[in-house]
Amino acid sequence: MDPILKRDIILDNYTNPENKEAVSNEAYIKVNSNNESCIDNIDIYILIENGVLKDIKFDGEACAISTASSSIMTKELVGKTIKEAKEYISNFENMIEERPYDIDNLGESIVFDEIYKQANRKTCALLPYKGIMKAILKYEENHKE
């Protein structure tokens, strides 16, 4: 993708993030995700019904990369089953960590395909995924057969 287009998408998701709001509805699972080495700190709210991610919101203070990554993540993951979401997340992590990944399956998230060049930004891009995985595990823990 053209680097200028990539930057525009990131900036757009930073300045006008999707799904950025706090949720008080108790049907949502709430988790906090923060990076030890920096100051990003976000809350993630997720509504899972019958194994499908129905809605995701996030809120908090974070840098451009974390905020854009969160915004894109919420758009990409809503509607996916837990299994599909996990596949997406592990594919995303592979891209960030410079392991083989499937480029066709990532949607808008491919704007971060070169973030590894800034080592200190990798954790920013991964931050919302760390949170969403925590939430999914929490859901699975509560819905064991």
Partner: protein
Amino acid sequence: MDFKRDFPMLNKDLIYFDNGATTFKPKCVIDAVTDYYTNYTANAHRGDYNISLKVDMAYEDVRDKVKEFINAKHREEIIFTSGATDSLNMIATGFFENIIESEDEILISDSEHASNVLPWFRLANKKGAVIRYVPLDSTFYITIDNVIKAVTPRTKLIALAAVTNVVGDVRPIKEICEFAHKNNIFVVVDGAQSVPHKKTDVQDMDADFLVFSAHKMCGPTGVGVLYGKKELLENLEPINLGGGMNESFDNEKQIYLKELPTRLEAGTPNIAGVIGLGAAIDYLNKVGMDNITIKEAQLKHYLIEKLTKISHVDIINPECDSGIVAFNIDGIFPQDVAVYLDKYNICVRAGNHCAKILKKAIGVKNTVRVSLYFYNTFDEIDALVELLKDKEKILKEMI
């Protein structure tokens, strides 16, 4: 003086504005540390052979240097620790655990560093004591009047930084000590951000305890100082027991401790670090502490003057007297500003700077912080300001 010649790190094509976190080391400090490891490695206070004696002398010589540097009355009042954090924990646990009782009050402020907050929290939790905060004025300063207002008959201790690490305000420590001592209140001073930048005279300020770290004053990491008035240190119980600090012990569990200062330095100390601290003090004395203060003030005023002209820069502490400037760029997360500047090899800190309770008082959680030292230059400030002028450029390049 030619600082570029003295500091190897000043020749790395970097602009370093994170001196509140740690400072660069002059070659003489690096050489002193290397000299110990290369030419006379031995333990201190242990051997009857020549190089061990040389280590003793070098180590104890630094104690005298520190004594002179902060104008302590006795050399036994200087205890070497691993840093200001270690010193504060030793004071809180070893001294104040025997002083503070249930319902007693410990007075701190919202702008203290974590190391001057958490040891007091633990002490208060343990003893059922109360933590109170000196209110900050509209410029985030602590005034003597506000200290007086916050003191109650139950106040036993005031613990404050002489200069804070986020807003850089300089506290009226001497007046605070004078007032406190009239009311039988102890004063602990966190000197981590003050001792490296201005002349310190513990007898004049009359603090009961003062702590600081070597690495923030051109010295090595992992070494610091605990100063305490002799009569108080006599009652500071060593947290660490072990070699070097005991006179003798027997199998009836009797322990006989050595005198100050050795009693409070259990185990093999950071010998190389202490020797490096000595070299750092020599270097700072050569530059001149008054010159350091003046140069930092000039740099700071220059930076403030330039930043004030940029409409999208919001300076949190334009008034303060130290070399610390905290600011934000309108609409840009501080970390993104730091990442942007890093692309031009300019090192600044973004965050809450370990002062997590300050956000309530200043209404801003995170900031970009420039902390200056005497080796910074006006040209470096020009380079920084130039990069901050164009907000579109920051937005474009921060990703």
